[in-house]
Symmetry: C2
Subunit: 222 residues, 2 copies
């Protein structure tokens, strides 16, 4: 299509602008001593359930807060608020990913120095969020056992831009005949050496390792 090259060029500028802003955010987070963790995945992979558990687990010993992105509704923020942590919803309208500017705006009025961990749940999308740096320290890509083992091969960019892969809903692994060997091999094929967590927000399995990983990060950044 004739408009394509121009679109690509404009898109590049927007991305560059986002990178500048994300860099500024990263410096702010670092200065404030807050560890920022973002979560990306398909819709329905269990980001909100995982984050709800994480907030509840961490809240007794750490100061935690969350931002959550969706095209529409405040549903996820409402769910996360049950953990008693401060939560803000970012409603993106038709935008299929979060951008650094949305994060900056959502943080207005919050004193970052009063936080140990800030979690940012992206819009459910395994493609577009990969291009947008949010200034986070750690990016998690979630993959539920019900989605199949080949997602890393089919969506390599999002796995390449993430730091940790979290396999969710492992309580359903047997019911869906999840092939662990294939899944783990596919992750390593796309991103050799990637840390992989295996969790069930329903049964709590695997959350202890996740908690230890978070705490070690906090020790590093403090």
């Amino acid at each position: 299509m004739s408009a394509e090259p121009r679109m690509v060029e404009v898109r590049r500028k927007v991305l560059k602008q986002n990178d500048i802003l994300a860099g500024e955010l990263r410096q702010r987070f670092h200065r404030a001593g807050v560890c920022v963790v973002s979560l990306v995945s398909s819709p329905g992979s269990g980001k909100t359930a995982f984050l709800e558990k994480t907030l509840s687990l961490m809240r007794p010993t750490h100061r935690v807060a969350a931002l959550v992105g969706d095209l529409a509704t405040e549903n996820d923020a409402d769910r996360l608020r049950r953990s008693q942590a401060p939560v803000r919803q970012i409603v993106t309208g038709t935008v299929c990913h979060l951008e650094a500017e949305m994060v900056r705006k959502a943080l207005e009025g919050w004193n970052l120095e009063e936080l140990d961990f800030l979690f940012i749940e992206n819009v459910g999308n395994l493609v577009c969020p990969s291009s947008y740096d949010l200034g986070e320290e750690l990016r998690l890509v979630l993959l539920s056992v019900t989605e199949g083992e080949d997602k890393p091969l089919k969506y390599p960019t999002i796995f390449n831009t993430a730091d940790v892969a979290v396999i969710t809903k492992i309580d359903l692994a047997a019911a869906v005949e999840f092939d662990w060997t294939a899944a783990l091999a596919n992750i390593q094929a796309v991103r050799p050496g990637m840390t992989v967590l295996q969790v069930s927000a329903k049964t709590g399995e695997g959350l202890d390792r996740w908690q230890r990983l978070l705490e070690s990060r906090r020790t590093l950044s403090a």
Copy 2:
């Protein structure tokens, strides 16, 4: 961001260009007497499993073929070819949705008059494909029971641009405590009167109704 308004404007032109091309495809499909059905959903909702079953069910009595879009790999095409139907993979690279031009190119060399049904499986993405008309007659949005009941509320545009909602993996509904009443109410809230199918590609449940729906479409368009 300063580049945003220009990006929106260029994006509008690309979309308009896509609409013109999709209109031409629609006329071609109509003249050839082929019923074109597209499938959109999150990654891992079961589009390929559903389509594989559909091709196998329809092939004995109808001439069927498929195009399948992914960012990377020929995995889905390989799976669909087990049905013996002609299948072509569209590898989109970093593009998060199919466009009419990709469909046009992928169809080169195929005689559409030799087909009764052409299925187009979009890239797994519940956001961006909603903006791109592919010239299809029927657009299906798939939603698996493992994704949760609130997807229609959180991704309203994709439900609004689709004609039929297909709830997949219903064999897992009890295991994930799927709330049927809420799910169906959410679909109707976003798109009143929408036809909803409930299927399991694993057990075959619900596929008979889907087959009848397809056959009635064919009778209408023939």
